[in-house]
Symmetry: C2
Subunit: 251 residues, 2 copies
Amino acid sequence: MAGQTAISQLSAAMSDQPAPIYQRVKQAIVSQIAEGVWKPNQRVPSESELVNELGVSRMTINRALRELTSEGYLIRMQGVGTFVAESKGYTAMLEVHNIAEEIAQRGHRHSCKVIELREIKADPEQASLLGIISGNPAFHSVIVHYENELPVQLEDRLVNPQVAPDYLQQDYHSQTPYTYLMRVAPLTAGEHIVEAVLPDRQQCKLLSLESDEPCLLIRRQTWSEAKIVTCARLLYPGSRYKLLGKFKGHG
Amino acid sequence: MAGQTAISQLSAAMSDQPAPIYQRVKQAIVSQIAEGVWKPNQRVPSESELVNELGVSRMTINRALRELTSEGYLIRMQGVGTFVAESKGYTAMLEVHNIAEEIAQRGHRHSCKVIELREIKADPEQASLLGIISGNPAFHSVIVHYENELPVQLEDRLVNPQVAPDYLQQDYHSQTPYTYLMRVAPLTAGEHIVEAVLPDRQQCKLLSLESDEPCLLIRRQTWSEAKIVTCARLLYPGSRYKLLGKFKGHG
DNA sequence: AAGTGGTCTAGACCACGGT
DNA sequence: CCGTGGTCTAGACCACTTG
């Protein structure tokens, strides 16, 4: 496979707009891909070919190709060549924000109530969530977040004491646990699971909910380097909270 | 405001690893930011200062700064200078995939049943969702998607006939509506709203659900150029479907 | 050995913003 | 006016893959 080199009239696709050359090169290449002239996995002309074809210096061509690669349009392999990337499919992204910031951005007042904040002995399930040994200490916090007096999030969190030994001594009215944890252990990776659930009796009470009101549950596990920092279960009343997302595509 | 220039011992932060210079420059700058030596909104040394300080050519410095800017660490203003960006906060991303692909990737069989597929006269709400005139025709489809015989998604979709005039003539057993629409009208932007809801009676029937089972509802609006292509309401049984997401961070 | 991408340089010209 | 970032060039050396 890997197709043949795209014999391109690429120069025809170069707009004569007053824009930087590297951008016009990028645009020309994107349009070849968008119009199907260059197909996925097909080889793209080499840098030196493009230099000859477009009469542009190699650094400029290189920048165009490099940026298109980081934008997902192309795949480059040293010693081999440059290829049109597989269409990314139709994935769109959703952002999950920090609750306090989000509330502040809406111009509302954020407050919270600390329900629990203590050391526990990790049971096997909790230990595996944190990547620690069962029976070892872990920190556990339960906090209700309010937007203008209305509860909007129930945050139930396990924290790895090895990563954040001072977790229990913080004041979470001035700073959310997540903000604190991000400061002491910069996030390097994470995973979410979003699902719809019905709250149990205690959750209803804490969030002032009817028992038949569906909730969004976000379970999140966060790493810093090789260690798991924290596992959170964030419960949002379906009637008061929605996840918003925007996306832009490029095929 | 805009603080003072960072008087940096940046050279001290430059690792002597065998890595490209521009990457070591980037890493050194990131570590200054991460350690709080350079604070948000503070001015970063100019390109020429960095050239002198690090003994590296300006193009290399420029590349490092440019990439850090596109990665969100820095903000640059021509004629003014380079500044440390505000911490982005803690936004993480969730991906929303095409249902058929997702099922195929799990190695399961996807099938679907077309419940409705016809032209309607858009009522005011539907018209505004599609950006068309109330009373004008619109297309409406309702499709249930199955993963190995088990219903996992109820897709209720409005389509703009101006963008996809042949929508009603397609066979959606071989290709999902979204796949078809993406082909005839490349997506340029979109918006989601994810929430938790309880299904109504008809939805329960179509998804073979108990009435008290919470569901994820994704409402999605998709643009192609200036036109709205389609509005979808995707309903997922909470017990059979979860949204997964991974993220990598940089503070 | 030849061709590819990956990087780096020294120097140049420009557009912009503040003095 | 000066200093800033934004771009572009011609040429160079390197590491990698393939024949």
